[in-house]
C-alpha cells in the first residue's frame, strides 16, 4: 500500500534563513520553523528536543558545517 503523503513546510524559507544566517551558526545544529530559528546547540539531540518543545510543525533539524571543515567523499 502506498504511504500517505505528509504535508511538508516549504523548504524555501529554511534555505533562505540558512543562506542569510548560516555562517553565524556554523559548526552547530539548528532547528528551523520556516525562517524562524527555534534552537541551536552543539548536539542534534538537544536541538531536536528543543524543537519538539517549541511545538512547531515539522521543524527542520540540520547541522551547519564550518567552511574550514574538510571536504567530504562519501561518509
Amino acid at each position: 500500500m502506498k504511504p500517505t503523503r505528509i504535508p511538508e513546510p516549504d523548504p524555501a524559507f529554511n534555505m533562505r534563513w540558512i543562506k542569510e544566517h548560516g555562517a553565524e551558526y556554523a559548526g552547530r545544529w539548528v532547528a528551523l520553523d520556516g525562517d524562524r530559528l527555534i534552537a541551536f546547540g552543539q548536539t542534534e539531540g538537544e536541538v531536536a528536543i528543543a524543537a519538539r518543545a517549541d511545538g512547531a510543525y515539522l521543524p527542520l533539524v540540520i547541522y551547519l558545517p564550518r567552511q574550514d571543515e574538510p571536504d567530504e567523499i562519501g561518509f
Binding site: 502506498k2 504511504p3 500517505t4 503523503r5 505528509i6 511538508e8 513546510p9 523548504p11 529554511n14 534555505m15 540558512i18 543562506k19 548560516g22 545544529w29 548536539t43 542534534e44 539531540g45 531536536a48 519538539r52 515539522l58 521543524p59 527542520l60 533539524v61 540540520i62 547541522y63 558545517p65 571543515e69 571536504d71 567530504e72 567523499i73 562519501g74 561518509f75
Partner: protein
C-alpha cells in the same frame, strides 16, 4: 542517442552547502522527524543519525544490523528500520539505517530505499535537482 526524461519536481538546493542537501521527512508509528540529507549515489543504503532514530521513537538497536564502511575504512555500525521517507513530496516506505552511536552530523540518501525508487537528475551548475517517482 539522445534520450528524454521528464521530471515532476525541481528543487534548488543551497549553493553554499556542502553536498547536494535535500530536506527529508521521516515517519515511524511513534514519531516524525524532519532533517536534511545528502543525496549520495555512491552510498548503497540510506543512513541517518542515531538521534533521528530516537526522535522517531525507534529502539534503534532492535533493527536489522548492518556495518557500513567509509572510503577511509571507518566502520559505522547501524540498524535498519522500515519507515516512511518523504523527499520533495515523494513518499516511500523503505528500510533506512540509523547509526548505533550519536555524533554523525550528516545523513545520506543512498540507492536502496531511496534512489532506486526514483528518476533523479542533478544539474549541479544550477544547484538543481530534478526528481520523479520511478513509476510516475
Amino acid at each position: 542517442m539522445p534520450r528524454t526524461l521528464t521530471f515532476d519536481i525541481v528543487y534548488r538546493y543551497p549553493e553554499n552547502a556542502k553536498g547536494i542537501t535535500i530536506p527529508v521527512t521521516l515517519v515511524s508509528p511513534n514519531g516524525t522527524y524532519r532533517a536534511a540529507a545528502k543525496a549520495d549515489t555512491g552510498a548503497d543504503v540510506c543512513l541517518f543519525s542515531n538521534d533521528a532514530g530516537l526522535q522517531l521513537g525507534l529502539d534503534v538497536e532492535s533493527g536489522i544490523p548492518k556495518t557500513l564502511v567509509t572510503p577511509g575504512g571507518t566502520e559505522i555500525e547501524s540498524f535498519g528500520h522500515e519507515v516512511t521517507i518523504q523527499t520533495l513530496g515523494i513518499t516511500l516506505t523503505s528500510v533506512v539505517y540509523f547509526a548505533k552511536y550519536p555524533g554523525i552530523t550528516r545523513n545520506f540518501l543512498g540507492r536502496v530505499g531511496w534512489l532506486r525508487n526514483l528518476r533523479f537528475c542533478v544539474v549541479d551548475y544550477d544547484s538543481e535537482v530534478l526528481i520523479s517517482e520511478y513509476n510516475s
